[in-house]
């Protein structure tokens, strides 16, 4: 104020310039302006310094304990089975399959007979069945909880002509005591492709592509002969064990084999095609089925299938 205010020394100096001659005025004026700028800059700097100090002071006083927890956000999660089913379906949808679903309570006819498993067939022992208490007036039909998602194969083909390319996720049921690897209630994803010109080679290609999408592009797959009454030839697909890298020895996950079975498959049995009225000379196809719980167990290292439907939040919140 003493220098720059209206009555300040410098202001007065500048005002008094008028009383000097031109040469003196120019010199004195320049000097005075120079002095004024210097002072103004110093003042601005000082003001900034003071402001910074004030902010620093208040910031210090307003400091938060950043280690305190933030506002809790409660997120929800999908059940791991739902997640895996979605992943599986996405992989097949990308290959032209569409997702359909079928009834969980079924007739014997769809669950067995149309799948080349007639009454009294020894292969029925492969599926221990939960039967529904139902008295058919005609004494013909038995009702049951479907033991696999395969009945939808017959239902889809009954309702349409080829080409067929569907994927069927859903619940299935078995009359089976539970332990770490067995549940009486679990899920399956079934697949079916039928047309003129679909081959075993296509089956291999499609399932290989699925394995790569689901388990990574470096995954190796192995196809071996297996038996399911509704396919011929029958296939079991394994992937190389990701726990031991396919070495096998001493590995609990793959039981020393280096391979993990993940899917049953095969070329649709001609009797199944004929059963729904398809021309077996013209049409061929393949079918496959896999268990999402098993895949989740492998992917996430879950050691007991009974965790899935016990609905313990300590389990569910991990996925």
């Amino acid at each position: 104020m003493a220098y720059l205010g209206r009555r300040g020394h410098l202001t007065l100096v500048l005002r008094n310039l008028a009383q000097l001659d031109m040469e003196q005025r120019r010199t004195a004026g320049a000097q005075a302006n120079q002095a004024k700028r210097t002072l103004e800059e110093a003042l601005a700097r000082r003001t900034q310094e003071l402001e910074d100090a004030r902010l620093a002071m208040s910031a210090t006083q307003e400091r938060l304990d950043v280690t305190l927890p933030g506002y809790p956000v409660t997120g929800g999660r999908l059940h791991p089975t739902t997640r895996i089913i979605r992943e599986v379906c996405e992989a097949f949808v990308a290959m032209g399959f569409s997702v359909v679903e079928g009834p969980e309570v079924e007739w014997d006819r769809y669950n067995f007979e149309l799948l080349n498993i007639p009454k009294g067939h020894p292969a029925r022992d492969m599926w221990n069945t939960l039967w529904v208490d139902y008295q058919d007036p005609a004494g013909q039909q038995s009702m049951l909880l479907r033991t696999h998602t395969s009945p939808m194969q017959a239902r889809v083909m009954e309702s349409q002509q080829p080409p067929v390319r569907v994927i069927v996720p859903g619940k299935v049921y078995r009359y089976e005591a539970t332990d770490a690897t067995h549940e009486w209630h679990f899920h399956q994803v079934e697949g079916l492709a039928v047309d003129d010109g679909i081959t075993f080679a296509d089956l291999k290609g499609t399932l290989y592509e699925f394995a790569r999408r689901m388990f990574g592009s470096e995954r190796k797959v192995r196809f071996r002969c297996d038996y399911f009454p509704f396919v011929e030839p029958g296939v079991d697909m394994s992937i190389d064990c990701f726990a031991c890298g396919g070495k096998g020895s001493g590995c609990r996950i793959c039981r020393d084999s280096g391979w993990i079975e993940i899917m049953g498959a095969g070329m649709v049995h001609p009797k199944v095609l004929a059963g729904v009225g398809y021309d077996t000379a013209k049409y061929t196809g393949f079918a496959f089925g896999l268990g999402p719980e098993r895949i989740a167990m492998l992917k996430y290292g879950i050691d007991d299938i009974r965790h899935f439907y016990a609905n313990d939040l300590r389990f569910l919140r991990q996925f």
């Binding site: 956000v73 929800g76 999908l78 032209g96 039967w131 569907v166 081959t199 009454p229 439907y309």
Partner: protein, 800 residues
């Protein structure tokens, strides 16, 4: 099925290591579950006890002089059964044997036992790890070659096969030998079936007839007289044991042996107990009973096929024999049966008696009748060999089913290509089939006429031959291609898509998905007040748990059980939902499987936090989730007071979209919570039915609404309305005004300052025009209009 490699080698050369053989079999469809080796006895050889005498310092020990063929050694032995002249398993110093005390393998050291040096050990089964029998040393047959390493003499590898139901043939050693031969390029040596027939003509020894040929297409039998029943020789016992069967006596053991060898179950009757030496294969008569070999007396019915003598059943055909005609120590004449039985009837009878035997395991899958006489001759030959006696001349062979021969199948190269997607030359296909024992004839350059060998019952179609070819060649030889057929046109299934959107929206609203068992108990349904004995839900006839047998008509019980099970984990928040099906019975049809999404919310609103208080989740939380979900789906719905026996009477609303009832939202009735022992109160609940929700979805895409370029005027409006007027009604009236673009309720109040029987509702109103900037007068006028219409319709006044 356990296959000892030593037995397998009798019929086929195996050059591959066991693990490699197991791999080849597994790849070809005969899965080998486990490979177990017997042996691992370096330093152990076949020895001979030259002399046995008393240990000088211990009565119960003996001092033996043992030859190993190259050496003679002094050995102390504690077994009571050791004797001079025995061939024994000798473990030299340095050998690795099991210590009977520790159960661990240890290296044998020279030992001084009661003052005498023992230079090795005469082994019991326990020390060799062969069994638990420690009563005495293992005595080997006299012809055991002295000095032969024990691994070579006694060692073996057992392949444990997990045989699929179609591969009946692989329940036999010969069947597996044929498989191995095809996979490794070897040939099978089938056993010789000849034997001397020194007895009288069989027709004079026994009289057999088949009264019910529909259930018994072939019955063959032989008679051996003057034999002696005794324990089997060691080789026979050992093979049975390694294959998992228990030796009984020489005659019974031979029937089992031949079953394991050829797959054909056989049965031996004591001929002297067969009345009038007459056998009739017939259906049981009403009142027939039979005491079977397992010690049970069974009531028979005419569905059961029996093997009877002149008066009574002696056995259930192809299932189990009777105790009366059992082979015993006194048996000297045997009637040996090798027959074919109807597979369906066999399976039904076995199931009705809950009797699953080694015989039914095979008969129920349909053995070929060609097997019966082969196995009969083989078994007769072996009985003569191990039990002595004389066989009658000829055999009985009744074959009423011989007019149904094995089918001859046509296999075209074009079909192979159509199924497999690769070309195969006919000679190669022919070679593969022949290696499996199939008879092939070339019909033309691209067609084979094929007949399956007698041990295969699973070949009925051309596709079966395709599998045979490709599984032996290896699935690896098939190329890998991507589908090249047209992608079918399809629309996503709307309800499946909707369920996915509902799951996603609920998860986004902080809800945790659960999946629970669809079978529930009556108690569960009673607890949620949905058990109606007049209209019970569907149930399962053979539940795993007697109570948990009803197909759920509601998700409520499952959710509450899940909530109750988790409340031990803290005070919440618990936000659980399930999107699943409930089952509603329909006459004469499959039940309706109704898609429902339901949720419960209970406990603290947020995780325990220093930032916020711990108020509890309640009705408006459940409603908020439902509102969020409906908004997410673009469905506008109304909430109408309602009631439900499961829910709190004053805290329950139906969710309506026009006429469509979309679901319920409410708080659970406290009594229901109490029955589930749920501590947090209240428990908010919602339930949405996906089928009507699907109908309520907006048709077509959302339409963009232009954003007004003119500013909005915000006014507060505090109303006093009768307490009976629902907020929703006031809200809707405000929202309907043309200038009102948004209504926000910010306060609800009743109490001091406003009249009894009324409450105050305070709103922020956003007023906006798409045509111009509203003036203060415009806004006041709008408020005036709203106020007067509210006053008229619901008796609202301005709160002053």
């Amino acid at each position: 099925m356990k296959i000892p490699m030593s037995w397998l080698r009798e019929y086929v050369n195996v050059d591959l290591p066991p693990a490699e053989l197991a791999h080849r079999l597994t790849m070809a469809g005969v899965e080998v579950g486990e490979v177990t080796s017997i042996g691992g006895w370096p330093g152990c050889v076949v020895g001979l006890v030259l002399a046995q005498g008393r240990h000088p310092n211990a009565d119960r020990l003996s001092l033996c002089r043992v030859s190993t063929g190259t050496q003679e050694l002094e050995v102390v032995c504690g077994a009571p059964n050791v004797a001079a002249g025995q061939k024994i398993c000798f473990a030299a110093v340095g050998a690795n044997v099991f210590n009977t005390h520790s159960g661990q393998k240890e290296t044998l050291k020279p030992a001084r036992i009661r003052g005498v040096v023992s230079n090795g050990m005469i082994c019991s089964s326990l020390e060799l790890g062969l069994g638990s029998d420690h009563d005495g040393i293992v005595v080997l047959p006299e012809d055991a070659p002295l000095g032969m390493p024990l691994d070579q003499y006694l060692g073996d590898t057992i392949l444990d096969l997990e045989v699929t139901p179609n591969r009946l043939d692989c329940l036999s050693v010969l069947g597996v030998a044929h498989e191995v031969a095809a996979l490794t390029g070897q040939t099978v040596r089938e056993p010789d079936l000849a034997y001397p027939e020194l007895g009288g003509p069989i027709a004079s020894a026994v009289n057999i007839s088949v009264a019910d040929p529909d259930l018994c297409p072939r019955y063959t039998a032989s008679v051996i007289q003057g034999l002696k029943v005794a324990p089997s020789p060691r080789w026979l016992q050992q093979r049975l044991e390694r294959a998992g069967l228990r030796p009984v006596n020489n005659v019974v053991d031979v029937t089992n042996y031949v079953m394991l060898e050829f797959n054909q179950p056989l049965h031996a009757f004591d001929l002297d107990r067969v009345r009038e030496h007459t056998v009739i294969v017939r259906r049981a008569r009403p009142g027939d009973t039979l005491a079977t070999l397992d010690g049970v007396t069974r009531q028979l019915n005419p569905e059961v096929l029996v093997i009877a003598d002149a008066r009574d059943p002696m056995g259930i055909g192809g299932i189990i024999g009777g105790a009366a005609s059992e082979i015993g120590a006194g048996t000297t004449s045997v009637l040996l049966e090798s027959a074919s039985f109807d597979s369906q009837n066999n399976r039904q009878t076995a199931q009705s008696f809950r009797l699953h035997t080694d015989a039914t395991l095979r008969f129920e899958k349909g053995l070929r009748p060609e097997l019966a006489p082969l196995a009969l001759r083989r078994a007769t030959q072996l009985i003569l060999q191990v039990a002595g006696g004389q066989a009658c001349q000829g055999v009985v062979d009744l074959y009423p089913g011989k007019d149904n021969p094995a089918p001859s199948l046509t296999l075209t190269m074009s079909r192979l290509k159509k199924v497999l997607g690769m070309e195969l030359p006919l000679p190669q296909v022919e070679r593969v089939l022949q290696s499996l024992g199939f008879a092939c004839q070339r019909r033309d350059p691209a067609t084979l006429q094929v007949t399956a060998p007698y041990w295969r019952s699973d070949i009925a179609l051309e596709e079966d031959l395709v599998e045979e070819v490709v599984r032996v060649m290896g699935y690896d030889t098939v190329p890998t291609t991507m589908l090249s057929t047209p992608i079918p046109y399809s629309q996503p299934v709307p309800i499946v898509t909707l369920r996915g959107r509902v799951q996603d929206a609920l998860v986004a609203a902080g809800m945790q998905e659960i999946i629970s068992y669809p079978l529930v108990t009556v108690a569960n349904l009673e607890k949620v007040r949905l058990w109606d004995p007049e209209r019970p839900p569907l149930s399962v006839t053979n539940p795993l748990n007697a109570e948990q047998r009803h197909l759920r008509p509601t998700l409520r019980a499952s959710l509450l059980n899940a909530l109750a099970a988790n409340q031990g984990g803290g005070d919440g928040p618990f936000r659980l939902f399930e999107a699943g099906r409930v089952f509603l019975p329909r006459d004469g049809q499959l039940p309706e499987e109704r898609e429902v999404a339901a949720g419960v919310l209970a406990g603290r609103r947020g995780e325990t936090s220093w930032l916020i208080g711990g108020d509890a989740l309640g009705f408006y939380d459940a409603k908020g989730v439902v509102e969020w979900l409906l908004q997410h789906l673009g469905v506008s719905a109304a909430f109408q007071p309602s009631d439900d026996p499961c829910l709190h009477p004053g805290r329950c609303a139906r969710v309506l979209a026009g006429e469509l009832e979309l679901g319920l939202v409410g708080e659970l009735h406290p009594a229901v919570c109490q029955r589930f022992d749920i501590r947090p109160q209240p428990v908010a609940f919602f339930e949405l039915y996906l089928a009507p929700l699907l109908q309520a979805l907006p048709q077509g895409e959302r339409r963009f609404r232009p954003i007004s370029r003119y500013p909005a005027a915000i006014r507060d409006l505090a109303l006093v309305v009768p307490a009976s007027v629902p907020e929703g009604e006031v809200h809707q009236m405000l929202a309907r005004h043309p200038l009102v673009v948004r209504v926000e309720l910010f306060d609800v109040y009743s109490g001091a300052g406003i009249p009894q029987g009324t409450r105050s509702l305070a709103f922020h109103l956003h007023l906006q025009s798409s045509e111009r900037t509203l003036t203060a007068e415009d806004a006041s006028q709008a408020l005036q209009e709203l106020l007067s219409s509210l006053e008229r319709k619901v008796g609202a006044t301005l709160r002053t």
